[in-house]
Symmetry: C2
Subunit: 343 residues, 2 copies
């Protein structure tokens, strides 16, 4: 039987905080075998928890008086708000009270604070954000990095490959992940300086490397893990989010143009719900910050209770899967292609 | 009254060549006031043209014995196949027989050949590929560059801004295009080295610069012109294409799951057709290679006759809009931010 994992939740991160976090914690505690530490203003969280029917569940409140906003710069948030909900949540992991931390707050500030408080897995140069995309094949593809390192080096891309491959095994249950580099053509000679230098380094790692893949392969299922610098990955992620929102809105407009289309839309309601679930990012929890000690997931600011629940579940699975130990082992095996410096 | 514009068409470029090109030329000659020079194997093109009912229209065949395939490298195609359909089509422009050229062939080979044969507009350092995206507001946003320059300099991004702005005026009929840099956050300090160095250069151009925009803004309508390096732009374009195809397939699967959903889908058929048109890239022709003398549009390899027709129409509009003269004037005005070298 699995041991019960404890996850610390920054309760003041999402746009709908703390309601989304409190309700998400309740759902996670009810549906999964996890214990939750809700970090934020104690009085307010206790009242919300009581009102939402959370008493009696394995959920505890840990007081954190400060709140970081989207307007705070990462540096200012880190230094001036040492008792923010994300600081307190990360410290729960450092002090051994929780196995992982999740936040739907300001991504830059979260990354900086978590990295500083938890430190890096030995051998890791830079942590990287990973994001899961649903593919047409029914599998998931993992894109690393989606925003932690805007100017990445070839060595960093090789480390992203190693970390993403383990994430794919643990979370997507992929037995033999195929790893590709995001580029602008399949042939080896197509790409920019970064991708051309990174390819031979990834080829030396103990992973199944399939070479270059293209933007459309995020959804084709051709690769299970796709690596890129954080700038390109963030653009790819946000283009996807923007396009899904746009297509939904355009489809809604088209379906409301005539009475006949409206009736059709009502009849097809279950199909639209099924479709919505398949393209809805909240079903996949948050983006893990791979390479930090402990486990950290950063969720979308627009997260609802379902997204928070899923982030808590994924954080617990990462912890059970001993992801950091495996990252450390893989990087140790491939020391020849990675710099032995830990930042 | 408009003069009749002549456009040279590489008839052997698309996956469905030469049928898509021949039928596209016929549609363009029927619907728009253009004359078409179809370049490719003479006998075959004449037979296709006759069979498709193209006789009597302002369409001429220009013989080109060689054909470049997707497997040919740009260098090999340029040197070894000097009488390819794209070589011959580009020469029609250089020799003054046509105002512009379009091709749905191998993008790398097309760009190299057209650039060599036509040369660059004075002041332009590098040509750039632009792509139009439909926005939720009903406007079009232009992304430059989507693949011509994988490792771009800040100066190049500034030139892309100047060229894209004029393209938006001429083709999207935008009276005062708002120009943004594709980045990973709205604030000036967010971005990579390239975007941070390019921003002050674009600020000095005679364009309305709105600073950083994000991936989702390709579809939000917030900017009319968005500049980026060709690597990032190509990834953004292909992620979009892949996601549109994936969403269509997932929606089809969901709509076929139950009888009720199937009936709903039939009733909503017109709405789906309306939606399909709004997200269908073929409605927007091809991607212009901005900065070359004459006009060049590169269409998707999967182009059908409708896409070819639209590419011919857009090429004629660019020529009527004197796009190159305007690019030259803008770059001349802003010489202080652009290197005076023409490649």
């Amino acid at each position: 039987m699995n041991e019960r994992i404890t996850i610390a939740v920054d309760a003041m991160g999402s746009d709908a905080c703390p309601t989304a976090e409190v309700e998400g914690a309740i759902l996670a505690a009810q549906e999964h075998d996890v214990r939750v530490l809700l970090c934020g203003p104690e009085e307010r969280l206790r009242a919300e928890l009581r009102a939402a029917g959370g008493n009696g569940l394995p959920i505890e409140v840990v007081h954190a008086p400060d709140v970081i906003t989207m307007e705070d710069s990462a540096g200012k948030a880190m230094r001036a708000k040492r008792d923010s909900s994300i600081h307190v949540a990360a410290r729960q992991v450092r002090e051994g009270n929780a196995a992982g931390v999740i936040s739907a707050g300001n991504t830059g500030a979260c990354m900086a604070i978590v990295k500083t408080i938890l430190g890096l897995v030995p051998g890791v140069k830079r942590p990287a954000l990973a994001q899961v995309f649903p593919t047409l094949e029914g599998t998931w593809s993992v894109l690393v990095d989606v925003g932690a390192n805007v100017d990445a080096s070839p060595e960093m891309l090789a480390q992203f490959a190693a970390m993403g491959e383990i994430y794919s095994r643990v979370i997507c249950h992929c037995a033999q992940p195929r790893v590709g580099i995001l580029s602008i053509g399949e042939e080896d000679h197509k790409g920019n300086e970064l991708t051309k230098l990174a390819a031979p380094m990834i080829r030396q790692l103990p992973v199944e490397f399939i070479g270059n893949v293209e933007g459309n392969d995020l959804y084709s299922g051709k690769a299970d893990v796709i690596v890129c610098d954080g700038f390109t990955g963030n653009v790819a992620l946000k283009v996807s989010e923007g396009l899904v929102a746009t297509i939904k809105a355009m489809l809604r407009q088209s379906l409301e143009k005539t009475l006949q289309a409206k009736i059709g839309a009502v009849l097809a309601r279950d199909a639209f719900e099924d479709f919505r679930k398949r393209v809805d990012y909240t079903e996949y929890g948050g983006a893990p910050l791979l390479g930090v000690k402990g486990v950290c997931l950063i969720s979308h600011g627009k997260s609802n209770s379902n997204a928070i629940k899923n982030a808590i579940r994924v954080a617990a699975e990462l912890s059970r899967g001993r992801i950091n130990q495996r990252i450390e082992e893989t990087l140790h095996e491939s020391l020849k292609v990675t710099s032995p410096v830990s930042a």
